[in-house]
C-alpha cells in the first residue's frame, strides 16, 4: 500500500517568460490548498542548481513523496526534475509537470486569465501526482556487433571505426563491389586527388580487417528486435554475371542471419536523371552529357563529340536540384564544387577552349572551397549568372547545340552556342528509400531523404533507438562531410555496445492476463511490434523494450486489459476532473 501522498509544488518564473503573464505567487498560494500538497513555492528558475536544491531539501525536510513542477514543456526539463527528485529520494516516476509556459504564458496576453489557467493546469498535475505509482528503472544487455548497410565511403568508414574499436561490423552491399558512387569519380575537389587513390586503401582495409565481414550482392531483407538486440536477415541477390565476388575472401557469403546491437544506415543517393527535364534534350543530342559522364571523359582524356574537339564548353548548374516542381527542393551541395573542378580541368586539357558556367548562386562553403573556385576563375573559366532554360539545335549548325538563357546580370536574353554541354546533375533520395524506411521504421523528411532525430543536436541519430545515419542517405554532402558523419555514426552506434547495456523506459504498457481475451487487436495496432500473442495461454504479452508508450494498444483493447503505466485511466481522469471542476 502506497503511503499517503505528500506533494511539493514548484512554480517556475522562467525569468519573465512565465512571470510576466502569470501571477506565479498567486498560483503557488492556490496550489498550497490542494489536497495532498504539503508545500508550494515559486522560484525564478526551477531548472537552475539552486532550484533543484530546493526540491531536494524539501523532500528531506518535509518528507515529500511526490513532486509537481509547473514550468516549461516536459520535453525540455522532465529529465532534469526526475533526476533531482531521484537524488532527493523520490521515485522519478512520481514527478509530474504542468506546462505553464508553452501552453500558457507564451500563448496568452491577459494576466488574470493566464493565472487562472495556470492554476487549473497545476491542480490537474497535482491530481495526477497523487495517483502516480513508483516504477522501477530497468536495463537489458546488448549484442556487441554493428550492421552497416551500404558499402560506399560512408559505410566503409563507419565499419572501420567500429571494427577498430574491437566490435565486429557486418557490411552489407547490394553491388558486387565496394566503393559506392565515389568509384564513378575521376578526381576530387578541392585538392584534385584521384578518387581511386582515396578509395583503394579504404577498400583494402575493409576487406582485410579481422573485425569486418563484407556481404556483397546482398541486401537486408528483415530486421527484428530493438536497440542492443537486433536480429537481421540478409538475402543474397546472386552474384549474377559479374564474375567473382570480391567479398568472398572474407568467407562471409554464406551468412544469412546476423545479430547486432546497433545499425548504421549508409545507403547513399541516386543521381538525377536529366530526361526528367526534357527541355535540355539530354537524350536527343550527343553534345549534352551529365557531370558523371564528364568524369569518365576526363579520366579517359577524351572530350570530343562525334570526333570533334570542342571549342566551346558550357556547364549548367542545379540540374534537378533546388527545383520544387521536380520535387527536389534541396541544394545538392556538391555540384558547384565539382563544376568548378571539371571546368578547371577542361581549361587545363583544352587551353584554347572557351569554358562557361551558367549558374544561379555559387555555393563554395567547404574548407578550401572558395579558394578552389577562385582558382577556377583564375584559370579563365567564365561564370555567367542565369540558368539555362532550354537547349535546341539549329539545322544550320547541326554539330553544335544552342543554349537558350538569360544573362541576368546583363538583363539580356542570350542564345549561346556550345560544342559540349555538361549538366550538373544533383542527388536524389534513392529509389529504394521507402523499402529501407519500412524495414527499419525510419521516418523521412519532406525532401525524401532519411530524417535525423534533431537537425542540429542529433544529426546522426534517428527516431529509432540504435539506428544511425551516415552519408548521403540523410542529405546530399561531399566526401569530407560524409566521412565526418560516418565517424560520428560509428561512435554513436558504439555507445550502447561499449556500455554493455541499454536503459529501458519503465512507463510502458502492461497486460492484465486475467482480463486479456487474446484477441490480438493490440498486436495489429502497435507500430513497434511490441505486443505478441502467447499461443499457449492465449494472452498478449508486451515486450517492454520495444514499447514506446504510445498508448494505442491500451485504447484499442476491448477488454480493457492493457494499462499504460504512468498514464492509467484513473490518473488521466483525475487530471480531467481537476480541470473541469
Amino acid at each position: 500500500m502506497e503511503p499517503e501522498p505528500r506533494i511539493g509544488v514548484y512554480i517556475c518564473h522562467c525569468g519573465v517568460n512565465i512571470a510576466a503573464t502569470v501571477d506565479v505567487e498567486d498560483v503557488a498560494e492556490a496550489a498550497a490548498d490542494l489536497p495532498g500538497v504539503v508545500i508550494a513555492r515559486d522560484y525564478t528558475y526551477m531548472c537552475s542548481d539552486p532550484g533543484q536544491e530546493l526540491i531536494k531539501r524539501d523532500i528531506r525536510e518535509h518528507g515529500l513523496n511526490r513532486v509537481v513542477v509547473a514550468s516549461c514543456s516536459p520535453r525540455m526539463h522532465e529529465p532534469t526534475f526526475r533526476a533531482a527528485a531521484q537524488q532527493g529520494g523520490v521515485n522519478p516516476y512520481q514527478v509530474e509537470m504542468a506546462n505553464i509556459r508553452e501552453q500558457c504564458s507564451w500563448v496568452h496576453k491577459n494576466k488574470e486569465k493566464g493565472t487562472d489557467k495556470a492554476k487549473l493546469l497545476v491542480a490537474s498535475a497535482v491530481a495526477k501526482a497523487a495517483r502516480l505509482g513508483a516504477l522501477e528503472s530497468r536495463e537489458v544487455d546488448v549484442i556487441p556487433g554493428v550492421l552497416v548497410i551500404g558499402g560506399g565511403v560512408a559505410g566503409m568508414t563507419a565499419a572501420l571505426d567500429v571494427a577498430d574499436a574491437g566490435i565486429h561490423a557486418f557490411l552489407v552491399e547490394k553491388d558486387d563491389h565496394l566503393g559506392g558512387r565515389v568509384a564513378d569519380l575521376n578526381r576530387t575537389f578541392p585538392a584534385l586527388d584521384s578518387a581511386s587513390d582515396l578509395l583503394q586503401p579504404l577498400i583494402e582495409r575493409v576487406q582485410t580487417h579481422p573485425h569486418v565481414t563484407v556481404l556483397l550482392n546482398s541486401e537486408v531483407s528483415e530486421v527484428d528486435g530493438y536497440v542492443g538486440n537486433f536480429q537481421v536477415r540478409v538475402s543474397s541477390l546472386g552474384d549474377g554475371e559479374t564474375g567473382e565476388p570480391k567479398g568472398e575472401s572474407t568467407g562471409a557469403s554464406a551468412l544469412e542471419s546476423i545479430d547486432v546491437g546497433s545499425i548504421v544506415v549508409a545507403t547513399g543517393y541516386d543521381v538525377f536523371n536529366p530526361d526528367r527535364k526534357p527541355e535540355f534534350g539530354y537524350s536527343d543530342y550527343p553534345n549534352v552529357i551529365t557531370s558523371l559522364e564528364m568524369e569518365d571523359r576526363l579520366a579517359e582524356g577524351d572530350l570530343t563529340v562525334d570526333g570533334r574537339t570542342p571549342e566551346r564548353v558550357a556547364f549548367i548548374q542545379c540540374v534537378g536540384s533546388r527545383d520544387i516542381q521536380l520535387g527536389n527542393p534541396h541544394c545538392s551541395r556538391v555540384c558547384c564544387m565539382y563544376t568548378a573542378k571539371q571546368s578547371r580541368l577542361v581549361r587545363e586539357m583544352l587551353p584554347d577552349a572557351e569554358v562557361t558556367v551558367f549558374y544561379i548562386d555559387v555555393r563554395t562553403f567547404g574548407k578550401g572551397a572558395e579558394e578552389f573556385y577562385d582558382e577556377a576563375r583564375g584559370k579563365g573559366v567564365r561564370y555567367r549568372r542565369g540558368n539555362v532554360s532550354e537547349i535546341y539545335r539549329k539545322r544550320s549548325a547541326p554539330a553544335r547545340v544552342v543554349l537558350v538563357a538569360e544573362d541576368t546580370l546583363l538583363g539580356q536574353p542570350i542564345e549561346f552556342e556550345a560544342d559540349l554541354v555538361v549538366l550538373a546533375v544533383g542527388m536524389e533520395p534513392r529509389e529504394d528509400t521507402s523499402r529501407i524506411s519500412q524495414l527499419l521504421k525510419l521516418p523521412r523528411s519532406a525532401d525524401g531523404f532519411f530524417l535525423e532525430a534533431h537537425p542540429k543536436l542529433r544529426p546522426v541519430d534517428t527516431a529509432m533507438d540504435g539506428i544511425f545515419l551516415a552519408g548521403c542517405c540523410q542529405a546530399p554532402r561531399d566526401i569530407p562531410d560524409t566521412v565526418a558523419q560516418a565517424k560520428a555514426a560509428a561512435s554513436s552506434a558504439l555507445i550502447p555496445l561499449i556500455r554493455g547495456f541499454v536503459p529501458v523506459e519503465s512507463a510502458t504498457a502492461v497486460v492484465d492476463e486475467e482480463l486479456c481475451a487474446g484477441c490480438g487487436m493490440c498486436v495489429d495496432v502497435c507500430p513497434y511490434d511490441a505486443p505478441a500473442l502467447d499461443e499457449l495461454w492465449a494472452v498478449s504479452r508486451i515486450n517492454p523494450v520495444l514499447c514506446k508508450a504510445c498508448g494505442a494498444c491500451a485504447v484499442t483493447c476491448p477488454s480493457k486489459a492493457i494499462r499504460l503505466q504512468h498514464f492509467t485511466a484513473e490518473q488521466v481522469l483525475a487530471q480531467v476532473d481537476a480541470l473541469v471542476e
Binding site: 527541355e279 520544387i324 548562386d361 542565369g386 539555362v388 538569360e406 544573362d407 536574353p413
Partner: protein, 391 residues
C-alpha cells in the same frame, strides 16, 4: 499609374523567386521585345511602386506559360503579367484593339464582336446535324461539343468545326452542341486581364454545361480546353481536346482509316506537327495528336528539333490575336514555319485555330506556300474520311 507592389507581390507569391532567369531565358518574346518577366518580378519585390503604364511590352506576352513551366520555384511569372494587365484594364488604359475585343465578348459573346445569331454559320451545309446536336443538348446528351468563337465565325476554321461534328456523329457518339447559346470561353479574356468578364463567362457557360448534364465536353481549341479544364471547376465533367477524343476512338477501334490521304500507288506525304502551347506545355497533351496523325495512312510524321516541351510559340495566345505587340517585324511564326520547312515536310499539322491562322499567314509571308501547307489535324482526318467514303 503607380501600382503599390506589396499586395500583388504577396498575392502572387513572388517572394519564392530566386532570379535564376529561366523564365526570361525561355520566354519566346523576350528575344525580340523588351519584355523581361524576371526584371518585372524583381521590380515587384524591391520597389514600392510600379508605373504599369510605362510597360507597353506587357502586351507582348502570349501567355504561352513557358516561364511557368520552367520556374524551379513554382512561381507563376505569367500570372504577374495577367495581373498587371488587369490593373490597366481596371483603369481603362488598354490598347484600343483589346478594348474592342473585350467589348465584343461582352456584347455578342465573341471577341470579333460579330452578331450572336450568326454563331451557327459554321455548320453551313450540315444543318440537319446541327439541329440534331442542338436537340440532343436540350434533352441531355453524353458529350457536349464546344465549338468556340474563332471556329464558329472564321471562314478558315469553320471546315474544322464541321469535320469534327461529323466525325463525332459518325463514331456513334451521343453529341450535343449549344448553337447560339454558346459564349466565348474567356480563356483569352482572362489573359488580357479582364477577370470580371472572365468570371461572368465562366459562370454562364458553366451553368449551361451543367444544365446539359453531359459526362464530357470536347473543344476545337486548346484555349477553350485549357480554361474549362483548369479554371472552370467542372470537376464532374471530363474536359477533352478533340485530339484526345479522336486518339481514344482510334485506340478503341471506333475510328479507322483504310485509304488514307494519298491515292494508292503514290508516295506518302511528310507531315510535321507543331505543339500548341495550351495543349502541350500547359496541359501535357503531346502524344494524342501524334497518335491521330500516325493512324492516317499515307502520312509520315517527322519532328522539328523544337518539339513537345520545347515547341516554339506561334504568338497567337494571350490576347495577341487582338493586339500586335511591340515588334511586328520578327514574328515567331516566321521562325517556326522555316523550322517546319527545314524538316522537308510538305504539311505542317496543327491542332489549334490560332496556330493555324498565324502559321498559315507566316507561310505566305515567308514565300513558303509552294512547299508547305498548314493544316489542322481535323482537316487531315476529314480527307482520310472522304477517301474512305468514296466508294
Amino acid at each position: 499609374m503607380a501600382l503599390k507592389t506589396a499586395k500583388m507581390a504577396e498575392q502572387l507569391e513572388l517572394f519564392g523567386c530566386i532570379q535564376c532567369g529561366k523564365c526570361t531565358g525561355g520566354c519566346p518574346v523576350a528575344r525580340k521585345t523588351t519584355l523581361n518577366i524576371r526584371t518585372l518580378i524583381y521590380h515587384m519585390l524591391v520597389d514600392s511602386n510600379m508605373d504599369v503604364d510605362a510597360h507597353k511590352e506587357l502586351w507582348d506576352c502570349t501567355s504561352c506559360f513557358t516561364c511557368v513551366e520552367r520556374c524551379p520555384k513554382d512561381v507563376q511569372p505569367a500570372e504577374l503579367i495577367i495581373s498587371l494587365r488587369g490593373e490597366l484594364v481596371e483603369s481603362g488604359r488598354i490598347p484600343e484593339t483589346v478594348g474592342t475585343a473585350l467589348m465584343g465578348v461582352f456584347r455578342q459573346g465573341n471577341p470579333s464582336g460579330l452578331a450572336r445569331q450568326d454563331r451557327e454559320l459554321w455548320a453551313e451545309g450540315m444543318e440537319e446535324s446541327l439541329a440534331r446536336a442542338k436537340q440532343a443538348a436540350q434533352e441531355g446528351c453524353d458529350l457536349l461539343y464546344f465549338v468556340g468563337c474563332i471556329p464558329s465565325y472564321d471562314q478558315r476554321i469553320q471546315p474544322v468545326s464541321r469535320a469534327l461534328l461529323r466525325t463525332l456523329e459518325d463514331a456513334g457518339l451521343d453529341v450535343g452542341t449549344l448553337g447560339t447559346q454558346e459564349s466565348c470561353c474567356g480563356n483569352e479574356v482572362r489573359r488580357m486581364g479582364e477577370v470580371g468578364l472572365f468570371e461572368m463567362l465562366a459562370e454562364e457557360n458553366g451553368e449551361l454545361f451543367r444544365s446539359v448534364g453531359a459526362r464530357g465536353v470536347v473543344t476545337t481549341s486548346p484555349h477553350c480546353f485549357n480554361t474549362f479544364k483548369n479554371e472552370y471547376g467542372l470537376d464532374e465533367m471530363e474536359v477533352m481536346h478533340y485530339t484526345q477524343l479522336l486518339a481514344d476512338l482510334i485506340e478503341r477501334g471506333k475510328l479507322t482509316f483504310t485509304k488514307g490521304v494519298v491515292p494508292e500507288g503514290e508516295e506518302g506525304k511528310v507531315v510535321t506537327y507543331h505543339d500548341p502551347c495550351f495543349l502541350g506545355k500547359q496541359n501535357g497533351v503531346y502524344d494524342e495528336p501524334r497518335a491521330v496523325l500516325q493512324a492516317i495512312p499515307g502520312l509520315k510524321l517527322v519532328e522539328m528539333d523544337r518539339n513537345r516541351e520545347r515547341s516554339l510559340c506561334c504568338e497567337g495566345g494571350g490576347g495577341r490575336m487582338w493586339v500586335e505587340g511591340t515588334n511586328l517585324e520578327e514574328r515567331l511564326a516566321f521562325q517556326r514555319v522555316q523550322e517546319a520547312a527545314e524538316t522537308g515536310a510538305e504539311i505542317l499539322a496543327v491542332a489549334c485555330p490560332f496556330c493555324l491562322l498565324t502559321l498559315e499567314d507566316a507561310v505566305k509571308v515567308q514565300g513558303l506556300d509552294e512547299q508547305l501547307r498548314v493544316m489542322d489535324i481535323m482537316e487531315l482526318v476529314d480527307l482520310a474520311w472522304k477517301a474512305d467514303s468514296e466508294e
